[in-house]
């Protein structure tokens, strides 16, 4: 009997309590739920300030994630409400806009502008860059007409994928005045064949001008 009672108590602690917690929703510092992501996306894309910004010219959503935003009260340990941040980038203005979404109020409560150079790239932009590069005959010539059947990789290679031809990418920023990537948004493409990188630092894509840049070996 005593064992049965212990088992009941243990079950209450291990099963019921977490279930109750889940039913009450995420705690203040938990990652966003899929529902919260949907709310943040909807709130950000329907906000007039954001719409005005992204409505003018070529733009895209770069990022959406949890943010722990403070209200500024003394001794505040965690934010009183859950927030998400949504980042957009406008190619024509070379400018980002960061929207702060209050998830409980389902609306954008603040926006901030981010200089274009500081807006990180996302995996969709690497895919766009790869599409442009693979259609460029100069890139085909780099592979001597034996272009492997590359696919764009947006996640780390699993053990099974290590030998598969893949294209990865990084944000390339210029330093010199005559470098187009000093003024434009650029991605450097990394071609990986049989788990080795080939044509390293040769193929960059200027996403602003939609041009493939063949660069001579730089490293």
């Amino acid at each position: 009997m005593a064992n049965a009672a212990r088992a009941v108590l243990l079950a209450a602690v291990l099963i019921i309590a977490p279930a109750v917690a889940r039913a009450q929703g995420p705690l203040p510092l938990d990652p966003l739920t899929p529902q919260e992501r949907a709310v943040a996306d909807s709130a950000a894309t329907s906000d007039p300030r954001v719409r005005e910004f992204i409505g003018a010219g070529r733009s895209r959503q770069i990022h959406l994630d949890f943010i722990s935003a403070k209200s500024g009260a003394r001794g505040e340990d965690v934010p009183p409400t859950r927030h998400a941040e949504v980042l957009f980038y406008n190619y024509d203005r070379d400018l980002g806009v960061l929207a702060l979404v209050d998830l409980s109020r389902r609306r954008v409560v603040d926006v901030a502008r981010v200089p274009g150079k500081s807006v990180p790239i996302n995996s969709d932009e690497v895919a766009d860059a790869a599409r442009l590069a693979l259609a460029d005959p100069r890139v085909a010539r780099l592979f001597g007409g034996q272009m492997p059947s590359f696919r764009v990789a947006t996640k780390a290679a699993s053990r099974e994928e290590l030998g598969t031809p893949r294209i990865e990418g990084l944000r390339l920023v210029g330093g010199a005045a005559n470098d187009p990537c000093t003024r434009h948004r650029c991605v450097m493409l990394f071609f990986r064949v049989d788990n080795r990188y080939v044509q390293m630092n040769r193929v960059a894509v200027d996403l602003t001008a939609q041009q493939v840049l063949i660069r001579e070996g730089e490293r």
């Binding site: 005593a2 009672a5 212990r6 009941v8 108590l9 977490p18 917690a21 995420p26 705690l27 203040p28 510092l29 938990d30 990652p31 990022h63 994630d65 949890f66 943010i67 722990s68 935003a69 403070k70 500024g72 009260a73 003394r74 001794g75 505040e76 340990d77 965690v78 960061l98 702060l100 603040d110 901030a112 981010v114 200089p115 990180p120 790239i121 996302n122 995996s123 690497v126 947006t154 996640k155 780390a156 990865e168 990418g169 990084l170 944000r171 390339l172 920023v173 210029g174 330093g175 010199a176 450097m188 990394f190 080795r196 990188y197 390293m200 630092n201 960059a204 070996g217 730089e218 490293r219």
Partner: protein, 355 residues
């Protein structure tokens, strides 16, 4: 009847315990670790974490309890790598290695080895390890070994993987490190420069002050200077000055009435000074702003400079790995680290973990 006794005992225990910190995150995003790991508790950490798209492992909250009967001390509100700048010696290419949509590298039991290591997260994105950290203190025949809780994750950045690691030690020290490993691209030396954004809310988010601490030699005398950082600005590092910064709260004091602090101490092999203005300082101090998350924007964040006295401050730390290519890097670059230490000062009134 026995259930009643268990419940009564639990109720008594909860009454005897120090004030609890309300749960702010749920498993597996909450890690709580007592030290020593066996026997009566002496110190304890409570850490909330997320592996976010972009910065990878973010500490979204950390609280330290310096004694079982003591109150929890809030230390970290949000700590993350805000940018990773990788310029190559010829001047180009220059990369920002943090991007969105690439995820973290899933970990396995081979990466994170049991019994000390446990893989956590819905995408197996975090390794939690509890380790022996070697000698904590020793004098002749008396000594003690220490322990630490280590959380790490791996960011994928094309030909490199970055290990983003946070360590919480039994003595209240926090270590932040980034390690680079992977496949090199050519033979040119380059620099991997992480910029950490450290929103340290010591004892709460309001009333913190940062001070620089520097050393100088005057004749036979060593002189240490402590100067409050009164407005937002960058701070250079000098190896001869042992430059570090300390953060203190307006009201938090130890049993001797001294202000409790945590000191940010660089672990530096060299100072990267590139053309870009954000690389010109090792430390930066800014006032909290929810939208200021990007280390490469620091010169803009400090202009115009706002007051940082008794306020909600954010400390930034820029360091670098100077990667001189060796033949040993031909197939794979072994892991290289750079980072810093956050060391408590006057949190206890006497030596902790002693005897």
């Amino acid at each position: 009847m026995r259930i009643g006794r268990y419940l009564f005992a639990a109720a008594v225990a909860s009454l005897a315990a120090p004030p609890a910190v309300k749960a702010q995150c749920s498993a597996p995003y909450l890690v709580e670790q007592q030290f020593p790991t066996a026997g009566p508790e002496q110190t304890r950490w409570k850490v909330c974490w997320q592996v976010m798209d972009g910065p990878n492992l973010v500490v979204t909250g950390a609280w330290f309890r310096p004694a079982p009967a003591a109150s929890w001390i809030k230390l970290i509100y949000d700590a993350r790598v805000s940018q990773l700048f990788v310029p190559y010696h010829p001047g180009s290419p220059r990369y920002y290695d943090i991007g969105y949509g690439f995820g973290s590298v899933p970990l396995t039991g081979t990466d994170c080895v049991a019994p000390n290591g446990t893989v956590l997260g819905s995408s197996s994105e975090l390794c939690k390890e509890v380790r022996d950290r070697g000698i904590a203190w020793k004098h002749d025949a008396s000594m003690r070994r220490g322990q630490e809780l280590v959380l790490w994750s791996v960011m994928a950045a094309a030909n490199y993987n970055y290990v983003v690691e946070w360590t919480f030690r039994d003595d209240g020290i926090v270590l932040g490190r980034v390690g680079a490993t992977g496949q090199i691209a050519g033979t040119n030396t380059h620099v991997h420069g992480p910029i950490w954004r450290l929103d340290l809310d010591l004892n709460g988010s309001c009333c913190n002050t940062v001070a620089t601490m520097t050393h100088s030699e005057v004749g036979l005398t060593g002189v240490d200077a402590h100067n409050d950082v009164t407005t937002e600005r960058g701070i250079t590092y000098s190896p001869t000055a042992f430059t570090m910064v300390g953060i203190r709260d307006q009201t938090l004091v130890n049993g001797n009435g001294k202000h409790s602090e945590w000191h940010l101490m660089p672990n530096i092999a060299g100072i990267p000074l590139h053309q870009e203005p954000f690389t010109k300082n090792t430390f930066w101090v800014t006032r909290y702003n929810w939208s200021e998350m990007l280390g490469d924007q620091l010169p803009a964040y400090v202009a115009p400079a706002q007051s940082t006295v008794n306020s909600d401050v954010v400390v930034w730390y820029y360091a670098a790995l100077h990667h001189v290519i060796r033949d040993e890097d031909t197939n794979m670059t072994h892991l290289m680290w750079t980072g810093f230490m956050l060391k408590p000062a006057n949190v206890w009134a006497k030596t902790p973990l002693f005897p």
